[in-house]
């Protein structure tokens, strides 16, 4: 794009910054940014929930050493900023001996998000699993259910109901945390909006971005409300 057209576009933007045309013009880059945001969000959620569940089960396993290692991991992941973890995986990991690999920006971001969020989810799962009364395990055991069957059929279905509110919290936080990937120069919704604001000297892209974030969290809120309602058919 030549300098003339850029200035021209900017003037148009300023002249019509409250108009429909400008809105439609910024819609395209903002939607692309939303796509990146959703991509990071969904992939992180899909991977960190099972990983977190595995961590929680290991944390509660009878092997004390395993539990301690998981504890240390959770401390590390919750005790350092997610942004630092992302920068470390992208910039420093290639220089770490043995496990050192150079990851492109998107995989690096996903790895950091999954490692970090799994630690938080693990603690939610642990609290949920520990809240199930011992009598439930005993009833399952005397009926002949194995540990795996007890977890799948008796414990985890009840855990889901109890952890929905904290999971909803954490998931909504994740939507907004995705904006941290800007440090790896990826064009998520917020970075796209900031780019437009700096180009066009108008705050409208911020307003639109905020509306997009609100829309995403609204969908999530509804989703979790629906799940809570579905689980409300029984009382504990």
């Amino acid at each position: 794009m030549t300098i003339q057209t850029r200035i021209g576009r900017r003037l148009v933007g300023v002249a019509r910054h409250d108009g429909m045309t400008y809105f439609l013009e910024i819609l395209q880059p903002l939607l692309e940014g939303t796509g990146v945001t959703l991509h990071v969000f969904l992939l992180t959620l899909a991977l960190s929930v099972p990983f977190g569940l595995g961590l929680a089960l290991l944390r509660l396993s009878p092997w004390r050493l395993v539990g301690r290692v998981v504890n240390g991991y959770i401390w590390l992941m919750r005790g350092t900023p997610l942004m630092l973890q992302m920068l470390f995986i992208y910039f420093a990991l290639p220089f770490v001996p043995v496990i050192g690999v150079r990851l492109p920006d998107f995989p690096a971001a996903i790895v950091a998000f999954v490692l970090n969020y799994a630690a938080y989810f693990a603690e939610i799962f642990r609290a949920g699993i520990q809240s199930i009364e011992r009598g439930q395990y005993e009833a399952a055991k005397v009926l002949g259910l194995s540990y795996g069957q007890t977890m799948r059929r008796v414990v985890l279905p009840q855990v889901v109901k109890r952890i929905l509110p904290p999971m909803s919290n954490e998931t909504i936080t994740l939507v907004k945390d995705t904006s941290l990937i800007y440090v790896l120069a990826m064009n998520d919704l917020l970075r796209a909006a900031r780019g437009l604001v700096q180009r066009d000297f108008t705050t409208m892209p911020f307003v639109v971005a905020a509306a997009f974030y609100l829309l995403m969290t609204l969908v999530l809120t509804w989703g979790f409300q629906y799940l809570e309602k579905r689980h409300a058919v029984y009382d504990d």
């Binding site: 005993e138 009833a139 055991k141 005397v142 069957q149 109901k161």
Partner: protein, 263 residues
């Protein structure tokens, strides 16, 4: 030879517990408890709280791990103790197979709150025995009819009274077709007016010659339904006699004191 085999099987006790020892930390809760239960017997275990009754029951189906002793269920060794005093349990699959011969009913019901009454009953037959839903539903409904709760089949446990919960728990245990039923104070968590319906279901089961071991504070049930009454105190069995004899003339002074207090 088939007749000999049958005879042999008939004399094999349903439960043979020999010299069970169990301690929780410093407290010795079982001090060499031995009891043999034959097929069709209904044993009431009575005694003051803290006497080790429930612990004894829970040791029989591996909810508690004993420190020493031997437990044989229908001829299969669940656990024994070698010469060096080392306690050895059967390997995991064998252990589960043996324990599955015993159904259990808890004081606190322990129904699965996220499942309906019918699902509570069909869960184990489907998951453990691998039966199809269609195959187990008629059986589950029959059990519900037996405990008088067929109309509650689609209710969740939270909607039931304590007595109804306990009857569902009995049906749930029976769905696995156990040879022995263990009851751990099945009426202790119930309002007094609700104990009758649970005891009726248990009495019905006893009439069908189910082998039962019942830890209870219901002296009337012990006297009228059980074939033998076991009195435990401070981790020991002090007396085990036919119900009528036990209530008419308790031999041990502590049994006498306890019965006088309870009746």
């Amino acid at each position: 030879m088939p007749s000999t085999t049958t005879e042999l099987m008939d004399v094999t006790p349903m439960i043979a517990a020999r010299k069970l020892y169990k301690r929780f930390g410093r407290a010795e809760v079982l001090k060499g408890v031995s009891l043999t239960i034959d097929k069709g017997e209904v044993i009431a275990v009575i005694g003051p709280s803290g006497s080790g009754k429930s612990t004894f029951l829970r040791c029989l189906n591996h909810l508690e791990v004993i420190d020493a002793g031997e437990i044989v269920i229908e001829g299969d060794t669940l656990v024994d103790t070698d010469a060096s005093g080392c306690c050895r349990y059967a390997p995991e699959p064998e252990l589960r197979r043996i324990c599955r011969k015993m159904g259990m009913v808890f004081q606190q019901f322990n129904l699965f709150p996220h499942l309906t009454v019918l699902q509570n009953i069909t869960e184990a037959p489907i998951t453990v025995k691998g039966l199809s839903r269609e195959a187990v539903i008629p059986q589950a409904e029959e059990l519900l009819r037996k405990v008088g709760l067929l109309e509650k089949r689609d209710a969740y446990p939270a909607r039931l009274s304590g007595g109804q919960k306990q009857r569902v728990a009995i049906a749930r245990a029976l769905a696995m077709e156990p040879d022995i039923m263990l009851f751990d104070e099945p009426t202790s968590a119930l309002d007094p007016e609700l104990t009758g319906e649970v005891l009726r279901s248990m009495r019905q089961l006893a009439d069908e010659r189910m082998t039962m071991l019942v830890v209870t504070h219901e002296m009337a049930f012990a006297r009228d339904v059980s074939t033998r009454v076991v009195f435990m105190d401070e981790g020991e069995i002090l007396e085990a006699r036919a119900a009528r004899e036990m209530f008419a003339s308790p031999a041990h002074p502590r049994t006498r004191a306890f019965l006088e207090h309870m009746l």
